[in-house]
Symmetry: C2
Subunit: 428 residues, 2 copies
């Protein structure tokens, strides 16, 4: 008989159904054996009365352990004692695949394992309500973001992750042996999304990118999920408007669609009922002038924590960054080439996105590349692209897992990535 | 003034609007200058009467070339002579960014460039109606696939693309220098999606994967867009049912949503009004017994072309493949360990998907790994996963770009990938 999902089965009182899932809990009293059966859609109590059930069924049930995979047939009934008021009285029970004990991790109750065990045993930790909820929220989050973008006429692109040249300079890239030559793993779709914005105008990509940074912070990964947007004829102010609207709309939608999962996590909903402030880098420097920070210094997390104390744990933009702190393709202000038309979006001390206006005139790009000593020949195709009718454009890259961390109230980014990669972790 | 998209502007006769876009065509008569302005949403004729327009405007317009980026302000009017019956009479025209001529590629008219030029000049070839349409269709295709899956309760996952072990054996993988150790680029999310199916039951991923094959066929890439599905408690017949329904529903939907782009491509819609046949590998061997093929041989494209001649250019499954032709994780038939519960989905001679039932009992996996000489320790986490209550499961991987090739009637897969990667191509 076809498997019923528990979520649907509990709506069909009196119906004879087949359920398949995992033994979540077992409890025995003198007269009863109770099994909580779990599948991906919910849980249900199986009630076996020792005297009434055929002895064979009870004998099988007594051999069960947590996480055994079983199949049961029976009738869905109302119950006065079962949680949710629903139970199944099975008349048939098959063991499909037994779990081997001890398990690496307890799937029920309060977790007392190290993060490394939680990640090693992802196939088990994901069965816990908390981690299950996080990744259901992730799946909803990307869906809602894409829906928002499609509605606004965006085109989805897939750009290459293996690149010939370390285009952005600066950050450490992973080397790939590409047939008889060397290549790199891309750290962003930057130049590709820019070329596509010169055609489709509004483009986005959600994909994995790579940074070979030996960071040991709770916010960095070697492989990270990036949400990238690029829009022709947008200024950096247009992009900030867009990003703010998107986040407000998406998060409010997510809270409503994934309410059940947020409840399971027991995290507070974050407040979005304010205009995201746009604070100039210069103002941040003034704010921090008692802390030894001088103009041109990067705003490392120690300083951003002070900013968070002053401003609060909320979304705000830091705009108009010094030219030397932003990538080469960022446009400088016409009246001041020391600062750029750029922004970071922060949530308190955590940077979650950065973006800006991009150089779209080939002569400006050539001058900039020469000035900072990057090889023109490595950018020849991109220069050709700017020479072929490139519109002004702006965009951003947003760290989706950082956003998910904030939304799910997690302290370490590895908790919100299925199989994270960092300096120490390459398995599973 | 805020940019109007041409598609919206043409609906607003009498409205004063600002348009921004590209000079697509220029035509001059003794009394008029006609410019076809293009943006990502459509085209419109700008009509400049030489005697009426302020001379300055005509002077500027006379300096324009193909693909220059311009901004015009004017009123949208009905026209008896313009294509689509709509024109704009501009009173203001600014040149935003000039294109440098000669261009690498002609954006209008019949294309006479080599594929390599088309790919080198992607930023230009994408502006042509044909390539533009292909990637708008791609964007719609992935949207419609995901919508179908979400409606059926699937969870979207993101699995790692950098892996420690060459898990599937066989295929050549790209090596990555991962900090102080060596790693590989994943060729599929196989073991990861299987672990996730043991939690979320129905999971999918659309992402890029890697094969270091030195193939020079029109169907192979080093980086390919894969659509992967894995479902707990599904048999391989369930998965084939699901895949057939999905394709019929998605393609029919796509034809309706992207009708405009299919029209521009001028390709025939493929017929899906039949049950996809499920032909046993054994039957294919019988079919081909005059062509020197013997049982156990792989069905290479030369043979599949003969099958296509006999069966026709349509979708069909080839099922029950010999054990030695399928990956180690594929389940053998209980009554015959020479053949597996596996399938390929073909469209004529082109394989577009393959899948099957997977080994879900740890002892079966351990025996299989030993038998074929793969190291148990490389699979220790996956064996742990199977020991922790793994459900029976089945799934497939589908080459999205191959499907897009079929739908858009293209002969080379590189035409339907924005920035393809193969033995020779790593730029742009």
């Amino acid at each position: 008989m076809k498997k019923y999902y528990i979520k649907n089965a509990v709506k069909n009182i009196g119906q004879l159904v087949t359920l398949k899932g995992w033994v979540h809990e077992i409890r025995e009293t003198s007269n009863f054996l109770f099994i909580i059966l779990r599948d991906s859609t919910g849980k249900i109590q199986l009630t076996l009365k020792k005297s009434e059930s055929t002895s064979n069924l009870v004998d099988i049930a007594k051999t069960l352990h947590h996480e055994d995979v079983i199949e049961v047939e029976g009738v869905i009934s109302k119950s006065n004692i079962a949680r949710l008021g629903i139970e199944m009285i099975p008349y048939k029970l098959n063991i499909i695949n037994r779990a081997k004990h001890p398990l690496m991790l307890d799937v029920t109750g309060k977790i007392n394992a190290e993060l490394s065990t939680i990640l090693d045993a992802r196939f088990l930790s994901l069965r816990r309500d908390d981690y299950y909820s996080i990744f259901k929220i992730q799946s909803e989050l990307v869906k809602i973001i894409r829906d928002y973008l499609y509605q606004q006429g965006f085109t989805e692109i897939f750009s290459p992750k293996i690149i010939k040249f370390a285009t952005e300079g600066g950050a450490e890239l992973f080397k790939v042996q590409y047939f008889d030559t060397e290549a790199y793993l891309a750290q962003s779709p930057q130049l590709y999304k820019e070329m596509c914005a010169g055609v489709f105008e509004k483009v986005f990509e959600i994909g994995q990118y790579y940074r070979a940074e030996k960071s040991h912070t709770p916010y960095h990964l070697s492989e990270f999920l990036s949400f990238d947007v690029e829009c022709a004829f947008y200024t950096y102010n247009d992009v900030m408007d867009f990003l703010e609207s998107l986040l407000k709309d998406v998060i409010s939608n997510l809270y409503s669609v994934s309410n059940e999962y947020f409840n399971k996590l027991g995290v507070d909903k974050i407040n979005l009922d304010y205009k995201f402030e746009r604070i100039k880098y210069d103002e941040i420097i003034l704010m921090l002038n008692n802390y030894g920070l001088k103009w041109g210094d990067d705003l490392t997390s120690q300083y951003l924590k002070i900013v968070e104390e002053k401003i609060g744990k909320k979304f705000f933009f830091i705009i108009d960054w010094p030219t030397q702190l932003k990538p080469f393709y960022t446009y400088e202000h016409e009246n001041n080439n020391q600062i750029t038309k750029s922004f970071d979006l922060n949530y308190g001390s955590l940077e979650i996105a950065s973006g800006g206006e991009r150089i779209y005139k080939s002569e400006d790009l050539i001058n900039k590349l020469k000035k900072i000593g990057l090889k023109l020949e490595n950018f020849s195709i991109f220069i050709k692209a700017l020479e072929s009718g490139s519109p002004p454009h702006a965009g951003f890259g947003l760290g989706l897992s950082r956003l998910l961390m904030i939304l799910t109230g997690r302290k370490n980014i590895k908790e919100v990535v299925l199989f994270p990669r960092d300096v120490e972790r390459l398995i599973p």
